[in-house]
């Protein structure tokens, strides 16, 4: 059937780019589709046209609704033809067009006829097509045939019905579940793939019934499973029910181990992987699995090597010792042609390596680095970083390695990964500091990435002055002023100023350099130089830099840039100067994705801040200040996220926003009336505060009218002791007058009826008094707070599902902003440190360092260190945790 499309042979040489579909066009093909309507069908030609249509769809062409309908109706005519090849293309075409329900009816009878045909191929394919396009109603009509097909003696027919069952279970589970007897029978089929499909479907039908799954698995593990694919499924189900059954002994372990000796590779691998993933697997249980994976490491097939090294890489995270046996095989994989395999091998070795093998490993990696892609290099750099943190004594060779690769060619992401790693090593390993800083200095001498140069300059400004000989960095920094673009020059000026501020001995020389910068061609550079000369007193005597200046130079801008931008936009030039304290500090967007890069928030416009969603803070403020009774309360300290007080889909939907003020709390109830025939009037919320002793009712501001589907607000104000984080529970009742609405005119009746509607309780919790305020550099901020105002205590958090769960629970209890991405807990880790920052009511900055550790099986303990400007607040934080 290929012939008609083939051009003459002698054309081949002329046209290298020859394609039978060259110059094909949708409109023309749709015209051609008219042949489907011919009274005398030409099967060959029709097949060709369908192939062309399928080609167009395959190339991403789309048909409009009208075109698709036309094609569909045309192809249905082809059922008249007895040509098997054409029929098969017709099936394909119908599946591709995915016809609508009313169109399906037209082909149903033809397909049902095919389903009962004598030709097995017709039956199998008609089943697949019909099940693909069918809906629930039609399904019940054909159900009888499908059940028969499942136990059909022809494996192709049975498989077609079973696979269709797998798909249909998503849309019509109740129907498919009735087939379990037939499916059960098919599981015993002698045909390999039928068994596979039947097992998949049967398990899926029974997945919610653990006992049934367990029975199924038990009976099959004893019996014979013919197909390797089915055996793989069985392994999965087995390990799954093994993980469900609690307790030490694993009844299915022997089965899994037995599968390691299966003849099919896919089964061996499946079993080995299942064993490594058993929860709480012991090293004795691991050994046989590791042994087969080790054999795979030296297989000639890349897929097996990849599968093995990928699995061992995961095992290395939890059981590094178990993998060490494979180290020799792993090392030979460093030179594997397949770079994915080589990279996985290296990172595994870096995880399992001990201190003595580091040097040898680094040598091997050096040869390897030059010929892999950047994305793999980044993986390696990250692995080296964690290795260095693990063996701090080896920092010298690892740092040298990093600085060497820093000098080589590479893209931005790769260089950034290296720079980030060096920065982290400098921070965490004090010995590595001077060495690392010099490497960074050398790097910026020849760095093509402005972003990295500015980041490094900023980092130098912070760390450089604290070293034993700060003067040696000045040359590198001042070179930037000569050689680089304006952005880097400006950053260099700032860095110079920091050296000047911190190191008095260098001051006169710094002033000379800064004065030269006054003649720069760029105004930002000149402005900065002028500013710094003035703040540091460069025009007069050399004096000791005062604290205010240092704060100005080194203090982080702890205001989200988005908020600053909004405030500046709203600021109208007038007599009053712009007050930076008026900028809300609440972080509304997600924490910055970038966490380790230093100096993220330097307001120089480098590293553009991510676009944040519009803040609702402004909307609330505008709303509150528009109501005279509330405007007099001042500016809210914090507005909570809305809490639903009604179930979804009830008559009236109400949620509440808590606005916290110094001396008041305002509850803003957002109400929506979801009944079209009603209008509510005089809507208010009656709040019972008997469970909140410290709060006193002040006023309630009812809503005049609440028509259908247009939300309105009613407010209730409570007063509370100033600055105290009072907590309490409030029960709420919605009170209103209901008026019937005439559906025709939309007008409300004159008379209304008083009614009430019970709402859920709301709570004011400690977290409501805490603003999430992020900071860019936790360590600096932490050190800037008085260590005497620190409060440390330890807590047992009791049994927890996981470490991550415990961390999240504490974060949400405190309502603080996690810093530097420390809210993310790597899986499998046994301990974790989380850094939080916030502002407590009364504008007190609070920082908390939380150290979590697993003490027993699932028992989590936490050490909490809190620093704040006010010791009382530090105590308050501890109280929150203690009572939570």
């Amino acid at each position: 059937m290929a012939q008609p499309l083939v051009k003459k042979d002698d054309d081949r040489d002329d046209e290298a780019e020859y394609s039978p579909f060259m110059g094909i066009e949708k409109g023309a093909v749709l015209q051609e589709a008219r042949v489907f309507n011919d009274p005398q069908l030409d099967p060959r030609r029709c097949s060709q046209v369908i192939t062309k249509l399928l080609y167009l769809l395959n190339q991403g062409e789309t048909f409009t609704k009208v075109e698709a309908t036309e094609v569909f109706f045309a192809v249905t005519k082809l059922f008249q033809s007895k040509d098997v090849g054409l029929r098969r293309m017709l099936y394909l075409m119908i599946k591709e067009l995915s016809p609508s329900a009313d169109e399906v009816i037209i082909v149903t009878s033809s397909l049902m006829k095919d389903m009962n045909s004598k030709t097995d191929m017709y039956r199998a394919n008609a089943i697949r097509v019909l099940c693909r396009i069918t809906d629930g109603v039609l399904l019940t009509q054909i159900e009888r045939y499908l059940k028969q097909a499942i136990v059909d003696k022809n494996p192709v027919v049975a498989s077609a019905a079973l696979v269709s069952g797998i798909h249909l279970l998503q849309t019509n589970p109740e129907v498919v579940k009735r087939w379990s007897n037939e499916v059960q029978e098919a599981v015993q089929s002698r045909a390999a793939l039928v068994q596979f499909h039947a097992l998949a479907l049967l398990h899926q039908i029974r997945q919610n019934d653990r006992l049934a799954v367990s029975k199924l698995v038990t009976s099959l593990t004893r019996g014979t499973v013919r197909s390797p694919l089915a055996q793989c499924l069985l392994i999965r189900y087995t390990s799954q029910s093994a993980s469900n059954s609690q307790g030490g002994d694993r009844p299915f372990y022997d089965f899994l181990e037995g599968c390691l000796r299966h003849k099919a590779e896919m089964v061996i691998f499946e079993a080995a992987r299942a064993i490594t993933e058993l929860s709480g697997v012991t090293s004795r249980e691991l050994t046989p699995a590791i042994t087969v994976l080790q054999l795979f490491l030296s297989s000639s097939k890349p897929v097996l090597r990849f599968a093995a090294v990928r699995t061992l890489n995961k095992v290395a995270m939890t059981h590094p010792m178990a993998v060490t046996n494979c180290n020799i095989d792993m090392e030979s994989l460093i030179s594997d042609q397949n770079r994915s395999i080589a990279t996985l091998a290296i990172t595994t070795l870096l995880k399992t390596g001990n201190e003595s093998s580091v040097d040898r490993l680094m040598k091997q990696i050096t040869n390897f680095m030059s010929d892999i892609a950047d994305e793999f290099k980044i993986v390696v750099v990250e692995a080296i970083r964690s290795l260095c943190l693990k063996f701090p004594l080896k920092y010298r060779s690892l740092m040298n390695f990093l600085s060497n690769i820093l000098r080589e060619e590479g893209g931005f992401e790769y260089k950034k990964a290296i720079v980030d790693s060096i920065v982290i090593l400098i921070r965490d390993i004090p010995d590595a500091k001077e060495n690392g800083l010099l490497h960074l200095c050398e790097f910026i001498e020849d760095c093509e990435f402005t972003y990295l140069s500015t980041q490094i300059l900023h980092f130098l400004g912070i760390e450089g002055p604290k070293t034993s000989d700060p003067s040696k960095y000045i040359r590198y920094i001042y070179n930037r002023v000569h050689l680089e673009n304006a952005t880097v020059r400006a950053a260099a000026v700032s860095t110079l100023a920091k050296f000047g501020a911190m190191v008095d001995a260098l001051k006169p020389r710094i002033f000379v350099l800064l004065r030269r910068c006054l003649f720069d061609s760029d105004d930002e550079v000149r402005d900065r130089a002028t500013l710094y000369l003035n703040t540091l007193g460069g025009d007069g005597e050399v004096v000791e830099t005062d604290k205010g200046v240092k704060e100005f130079l080194f203090g982080a801008l702890d205001i989200p840039l988005v908020n600053l931008e909004t405030s500046l936009r709203n600021y109208e030039a007038s007599e009053d100067a712009f007050d930076i304290n008026s900028v809300p500090k609440e972080v509304k967007s997600q924490p910055l994705a970038e966490k380790k890069a230093p100096g993220k928030k330097q307001p120089t416009g480098l590293g553009a801040p991510p676009a944040a969603p519009p803040t609702t803070v402004d909307a609330y403020e505008r709303l509150l200040s528009s109501i005279p009774e509330l405007a007099s309360l001042g500016k809210p300290f914090k507005s909570s996220a809305p809490t639903e007080l009604t179930e979804a889909e009830t008559e009236y939907a109400v949620n509440v926003v808590k606005h916290i003020y110094d001396r008041h709390v305002v509850f803003q109830y957002n109400c929506t009336n979801t009944i079209p025939e009603q209008q509510l009037e005089e809507v208010s919320v009656v709040v019972d505060s008997s469970d909140a002793e410290e709060f006193g009712f002040v006023l309630s501001k009812p809503l005049r009218s609440l028509p259908y589907d247009s939300p309105g607000q009613t407010f209730v104000v409570f007063e509370k002791p100033e600055g105290v984080p009072a907590v309490g529970k409030f029960s709420n009742t919605l009170k209103f007058i209901v008026k019937e609405v005439d559906p025709n005119t939309g007008e409300a009746d004159e008379d209304g009826v008083d009614d009430e509607y019970q709402l859920e309780e709301l709570e004011v919790v400690s977290a409501d008094y805490m603003q999430k305020v992020g900071i860019s550099n936790f360590r600096n901020a932490w050190e800037s707070l008085d260590a005497d105002l620190e409060r440390v205590d330890e807590y047992g958090l009791g049994p927890r599902e996981s470490l991550a769960e415990a961390v999240n629970a504490v974060i949400s209890l405190l309502g603080m902003q996690p810093c530097e991405g420390t809210e993310a807990v790597p899986s499998n880790s046994r301990s974790h440190t989380c850094l939080l920052s916030g502002v407590f009511i009364g504008n007190t900055r609070v920082l908390a360092r939380l150290q979590f550790g697993l003490t027993g099986p699932k028992e989590v303990a936490m050490k909490l260190a809190v620093r704040s400007d006010d010791i009382a607040v530090s105590d308050a934080i501890h109280e929150i945790v203690a009572s939570g």
């Binding site: 369908i50 098969r88 797998i166 998949a200 899926q204 000639s300």
Partner: protein
């Protein structure tokens, strides 16, 4: 009352983590439990410049638009086309969170994609079955032009290999005979020769696999 909030949160988290755990266990093997996670995400046949010859996607969630599909094909192609070893053996790589097995024959590049928790050995057997069946159907003449001229066979072969992400058949000889037998019954004179040849090759292949 913090206790209640806290315990509520932890209960909820607990539920979530149970759900996730179950999902994870299921996904780990890429089990066919949910239609949302079919075993095979797509099969691609691209030419030597990365252009489509025939492709089939089984997961609209991963690649909702044609643009997304083309972008994926471009990435896959650019990251693999230099792998010469893929001419000799089925090769494998990870791109993003996908495991991709691939094999090159002449100017045709075959790919099978699964998600990262997939058993790559199973993916490889699907790929092996598919490209060997194509080899039989094209009478050993596996190259772009031949494939386009017999696009109907390639598309039918794709259809017989995977149904909605689930592997239907992985034996190349059976696959090829399923595709070819459709036309056999038709008795259309023009296609007879092709099919006779295809069947001969199929028979040869079966013998070969028996002798292995």
């Amino acid at each position: 009352m913090e206790t209640s909030v806290c315990s509520w949160i932890s209960d909820f988290d607990f539920l979530l983590s149970v759900v996730e755990l179950t999902w994870f266990t299921l996904l780990c093997g890429g089990i066919l439990l949910q239609q949302a996670c079919p075993q095979v995400k797509n099969i691609l046949v691209l030419d030597s410049e990365g252009k489509r010859v025939a492709v089939k996607y089984y997961s609209d969630e991963d690649w909702p638009t044609n643009g997304a599909k083309e972008a994926f094909e471009k990435t896959v192609f650019s990251k693999t086309h230099k792998t010469n070893n893929a001419r000799a053996e089925v090769e494998v790589t990870m791109i993003g969170s996908y495991v991709i097995v691939y094999k090159f024959v002449d100017d045709l590049h075959f790919f099978v994609t699964g998600d990262e928790d997939q058993n790559e050995v199973i993916l490889a057997s699907v790929l092996q079955g598919f490209f060997e069946a194509v080899g039989i159907l094209l009478r050993g003449n596996v190259e772009k032009r031949e494939a386009l001229e017999n696009l109907d066979l390639i598309l039918l072969c794709l259809d017989e290999t995977i149904d909605g992400g689930v592997p239907l058949e992985t034996d190349p000889a059976v696959l090829a005979s399923k595709v070819a037998s459709h036309s056999m019954d038709s008795g259309a004179p023009l296609s007879e020769q092709t099919l006779a040849q295809a069947l001969a090759t199929a028979r040869e292949h079966i013998t070969k696999s028996l002798l292995k």
